[in-house]
Amino acid sequence: MSATNSTILNLPDQKTATLPKRNYINAEDGLLSWLFTGDHKRIGMLYLISITFFFFIGGAFAGLIRLELLTPQPDLVASDTYNKLFSMHGIIMVFLFLVPSVPATIGNFLIPIMIGAKDLAFPKINLLSWYLYWIGGLFTLTAMVLGGVDTGWTFTTPLSTHYLNTHVVTAGLGVFIIGFSSIFTGLNFIVTIHRMRAPGMTWFRMPLFVWSNYAASILMVLGTPVLAITLVLVVLERTIGIGVFDPTKGGDPLLFQHLFWFYSHPAVYIMILPGMGVISEVISTFSRKRVFGYTAVAFSSVAIALFGFFVWAHHMFIMGVSNYSALVFSLLTMLVAVPSAIKTFNWAFTLQKGSITFETPMLYAFGFLGLFTIGGMTGVFLGALGMDIHLTETYFIVAHFHFVMVGGMLMAFLAGVHFWWPKMTGRMYPESLSKLAAVTTFIGFNLTFLPQFILGYLGMPRRYHSYPPEFQVLNVLSTAGATVLGVGYMLPLLYLAWSLKYGEIAGNNPWQATGLEWQIQSPPLTENFIEVPIMDHEAYDYEWLAHKTEQEVTTVG
């Protein structure tokens, strides 16, 4: 047990400690017991493996993109190959990695436990959602193996419907199916959070992680079907030639943009909200304080979800929406940015008068705070009408969304994975290696994407396979950063795998955290709780925890 003052880590005595004899991992044996499981924890783990797989495929594409952009000349790959690279990179990263990242893995694993339920409301649908994810994933992989798609992740018509002869239909169907997987996850969460809370678990006693996933679930349920129908129309237009988006038949290609972004803007909040939940948990735990302004943070999640539906046309400012609409959407974009600012400051103030330690999840959370602030503020640049004219479709946007998606959500995801790793597996990850990885990703990330802001303002367009030579230096920096970043992401893969066997035994509550999930054994039992828990205290009540631990010591001792 580490005795230094700079950690709150509280591990059982390694000589005597063992993993619990009965837990969800060894409850049943054999591959089939996993493939047909209804246990939300097992499904969460299946998801974790699946999205990691796709992340590294997407990451390999990113590596190739960056390698090509090392030199201004189109030398490494042909231009249509390059187009396929970034399209597959975007599609895989968004739909197969980032959207399910926190909710389907960590959320799946933890939401029922956090609210004191034995499982999600619909275990079979949960499993179905994982299968749908894989069917969609296989469609995407098929499209990739057969020769790829080059639509970009935005499937812009009429390019995608009439001018490209790649596997648009296959990929479109893939995304369509993955969409349903995401709908079912969201649906399950909403029902579970409404109907399955343990006695005493009122709305304002729920951990903020649950709140933020609830908000994201609303977006999944209400937004995703619009993407689905849009893709159906694209597929129909490509295959049988109906004319809903085709300007030569009288359709309006801008209608596609409206429908696509009606989903895809809320989708960016699907991609960030669950991560924000992770940050709330992590910051509270490692500063041993209740999150500052709990209600404000909870409501701001809901506000982001609600306002998130009103701003989609900010992706179309120069595409020919009416000027009046542009004004309205720009104004609403400014409003939707405010709740994020509220959250950020609340997290910062959670640290005030805390007792702060710097374990790996906390390092990732600090990374999140800085990078999300930059990413979010550059979003405000893009939301300002006149500014967007110059910045849109340049590397400034690429930098913006990597800051929020990679610097924000991916950091939060890694924070969450490290934070709950002991709960999921019962074992600790190696501390110093993981700190090294956190610092590496932070440095690599900034080296990769900060230069892209400058590139963007200089005017380098995105989705360019070759570029004027004066942009090279910044691109070289960016590629160098991507290499560092790649290493930073490989590290956790290796040491987390290692820790499955050799990691220290974590015990129930290594972080001394207050959530219900930390009060049960790790890894948990299949049914989570032996008896239905009763929530008789507020969330993040560290005094309750101290009191409880004391009692235990007296009863056991």
Partner: protein
């Protein structure tokens, strides 16, 4: 050890139900909770359906305003008798579905099976009528795509009785836009029909289960939730019918 925080022994009520209902799942505390969760889940699913059709309805709204003349003429190609019959058929099907839910609630197995079969039959009738409507469009080359043919809108057939064209002839550029109408017509009714087909598949499964008596002992959730789905599909049609068939049925004015 501390596997639980303060726990309660919630009393026997739940246990009793366990005995009564084998379908009760372990992770719900009471069958009541399970049932409400199911209904709520179903409704959330229906919300996704609203949004799914929402995209189509918006596209319809937009193009109907843009190409009103073409929409009028193209819409008049559809047969009101068939459309109205189908509406009635679908309402009937929904009615039997509702009765089926009632039969399950009052635990009448025979009636339940009967009503479900009637629901299915009417659903099939609907699809049958739709098939003939589609077939006619196919023969007239009114399916959007390469073979789409506007000649009938430019030179409408002459009504032998009056000696006048049956329909206002359209200039070719307007006639082109009938294709947008038919695109939406097929997209919307096609999506609706697809939902019907899925529904009929589920109905057959439900019929077999209710013959086994699965739903005649107080466990009605699947019937109830399927009913919600089936009624939703009806509602979509309630809008599709006036929007697609009845745009302007009083030519000459």
């Amino acid at each position: 050890m501390d596997n639980t925080i303060v726990a309660t022994h919630h009393d026997t009520a739940a246990e009793d139900h366990h005995a009564a209902l084998p379908q009760h799942r372990h992770h719900f505390e009471t069958p009541e909770q399970q049932r409400e969760a199911g209904t709520f889940g179903m409704w959330l699913f229906l919300l996704t359906e609203i949004m799914f059709f929402g995209g189509l309805f918006f596209a319809y709204l937009l193009y109907r305003n843009w190409y009103h003349d073409a929409f009028v003429v193209a819409s008049n190609q559809l047969s009101i008798p068939l459309g109205a019959t189908n509406t009635a058929v679908l309402i009937g099907s929904g009615f039997f579905m509702a009765l089926g839910v009632w039969a399950a609630e009052v635990r009448k197995k025979g009636l339940l099976v009967l009503f479900l079969i009637l629901t299915t039959l009417l659903g099939l009738v609907f699809l049958g009528v739709k098939y003939f409507e589609y077939k006619e469009k196919w023969e007239k080359h009114h399916i959007p795509g390469e073979h789409f043919d506007i000649s009938e809108f430019v030179n409408p057939p002459i009504n032998p009785k009056t000696g006048r064209p049956t329909e206002q002839p359209l200039p070719p550029d307007v006639a082109q836009k009938t294709q947008v109408f038919f695109s939406l017509y097929f997209a919307m009714t096609g999506m609706h029909a697809l939902h019907m087909i899925i529904g009929i598949g589920l109905l057959i499964w439900l019929i077999r289960r209710s013959q086994r008596g699965d739903f005649s002992a107080g466990y009605v959730a699947p019937i109830e939730n399927f009913g919600l789905y089936w009624h939703f599909v009806d509602i979509v049609w309630l809008f599709l019918f006036p929007l697609l068939y009845l745009i302007n049925r009083h030519p000459g004015s």
